[in-house]
Symmetry: C2
Subunit: 345 residues, 2 copies
């Protein structure tokens, strides 16, 4: 398994490694004879020589890869983001994806590991406050969906507050007043804004968040679990709609609601953020705010390219739009246990 080196090729041909290097890099025009050129090419083929990329970028000081660090590829959203980045960087840089160990979110160590390779650029999707607080740029870096970040890095954001506003107005226009919020226990700007934005817009429209629960992670299973342990209480309080911080949680809630016979949307409306492609196939189709992950990735890729060339391109915020589907409907006329007015918990 010993790898073939340029020295091996040179010895095989009987020339210097410099000549091999010139040929490999296509710099041979007028520098290497047709003769030698052909023999080197042949030797490369015979020996199956592949230049060692790390050695090469060490020598040239121009790395050839960038890396995307994201919380969890099992959430299709990040698959989309990755795909967008690959698309916009294709041909220019190789793109590697990195996640934290153990399916948990990534932390500063994960980022430092990613920075340890010599890379041309870095994209951080959804960084936690901890990551942001300790982050030291070692190469051009762009942030995705990190709306309140104070670090001086280019960002491509999602207009989260507006997304929350759309959900809030949709729900209140359907007559929902007592709303539960299923948050995730992650210290990230985007989730802070989801909750705060929702709360603000709800209040402005006569609604309120009357109950909140926290998922430990953004997974379907967690969504189910938290719903099952909260529903009895929420039901008693007269909750008619649940907003989830992410589709993954909403999926879990929908599944669990089915399992205990809570009719959606007749008894309970469900809305969420992300609108991953599967959301519209759900039973019932899920009302969700669309974040275009692929476009987000594409833009991040372009910003990274600019940053690598030394042009800071500033921030950019993508708009979202609500997809109202069958998981939300008018609030039941007399919420079963609505013995109180919104806001009075």
């Amino acid at each position: 398994m010993k790898r073939v080196t340029s020295r091996d090729v040179a010895e095989y041909v009987g020339c210097s490694v410099a000549s091999v290097s010139l040929v490999v890099n296509g710099q041979h025009e007028g520098r290497i004879s047709e003769q030698l050129h052909a023999r080197i090419l042949a030797a490369i083929d015979v020996l199956d020589y592949r230049p060692n990329q790390s050695a090469r970028s060490l020598a040239t000081r121009t790395p050839s890869n960038v890396v995307l660090v994201c919380p969890d590829v099992r959430n299709p959203f990040f698959g989309d983001v990755f795909h967008g980045i690959v698309e916009s960087l294709s041909g220019k840089y190789g793109v590697d994806l990195r996640v934290g160990p153990g399916g948990a979110d990534y932390d500063s160590d994960t980022v430092r590991e990613a920075q340890a390779g010599n890379i041309a650029g870095l994209v951080l999707a959804n960084p936690s406050h901890e990551v942001l607080a300790t982050f030291q740029a070692t190469c051009p870096t762009v942030l995705i969906d990190s709306p309140d970040a104070t670090v001086s890095l280019d960002r491509v954001d999602i207009d989260i507050r507006d997304a929350s506003r759309q959900i809030a107005e949709h729900l209140t226009s359907l007559g929902h007043r007592w709303i539960a919020y299923l948050d995730v226990r992650r210290s990230k700007d985007t989730f802070v804004q989801r909750r705060e934005g929702l709360e603000g817009s709800l209040r402005a429209n006569g609604g309120n968040i009357v109950a909140t629960a926290f998922a430990d992670e953004l997974s379907v299973a967690e969504g189910s679990k938290v719903f099952l342990s909260s529903w009895q209480e929420w039901d008693a309080v007269g909750v008619t709609a649940i907003v989830c911080a992410d589709d993954m949680l909403a999926f879990g809630v929908v599944g669990a609601a089915h399992s205990i016979g809570v009719p959606i949307p007749d008894r309970l409306s469900i809305a969420s953020y992300n609108d991953i492609p599967f959301a519209q196939l759900l039973d019932p189709p899920l009302t969700s705010v669309t974040f275009d992950g692929q476009e987000l990735g594409r833009l991040a890729g372009q910003k990274l390219l600019a940053a690598i060339q030394g042009d800071r391109s500033g921030n950019l915020t993508m708009q979202t739009h609500l997809q109202a589907r069958a998981s939300t409907a008018p609030a039941p006329p007399t919420p079963p246990a609505a013995t109180r007015t919104p806001g009075s918990r």
Copy 2:
């Protein structure tokens, strides 16, 4: 953005790079004075020095990363696989994920690029025949779901033929005889086996594949598209069930069937391979054969570890089990256009 090097640290402290190296690698016991040790540590902290991983693995000839190459992370299955590998290799190696450019499948170039870094190991998920035919190992490599591969590499496979058998028996036991197969235009063993296995088991049980269509890629949109352009013909032939080569396609079929008012499962049953977590939340819940992507990844990680240590651990085949859900039901008593006997096309 100039990166701090060990030389910078050495100059700052006023010592040699060798001493810095020893401290960084924890080899300082009895070789470096407490004095110097402390000063170097302090300098590392002040300057925020991070060893260049590529330089380091160049020098030691012991790389610290492995890479997983897979077709498309937007298919949650590969997200699971990745997660499994990360889990089993966590702490030992960093794991990078690579895909082909443009959302298409990866090809030999993608693999060669991945091999160009200096890496400890490589995992190829679902390699095409083209990739396999041109593949040259440059480091320990393991294959995932590449059942007929003749290359001499460790593999972790899925018992695809048995998966097909389960689907076939399930469908025929429900009385289905005229079955359409939605294949994908990919030259891969796993898809060959899905189709051949299905065909064989169907025949053995009185059913038959009476029509086949091909998707260009494994996406929900492609599933819808191909279904819409095929259904009229299939309907005419009396097809009562469709088997899809992957859940992604099945999702598209289900969505499209809804859109044109074909009742599932009353008129049409749908079954598929993979059972990604969203399958059971579909409307109706999708009958599918479970492939445990995460476990597959975990096993691949272990095999890779063994291979790196020089132990070839051979092949391993994972069993699957059918999840019969509401998307499959007894065939309609008189298939609308069943004017012919199975097999007579």
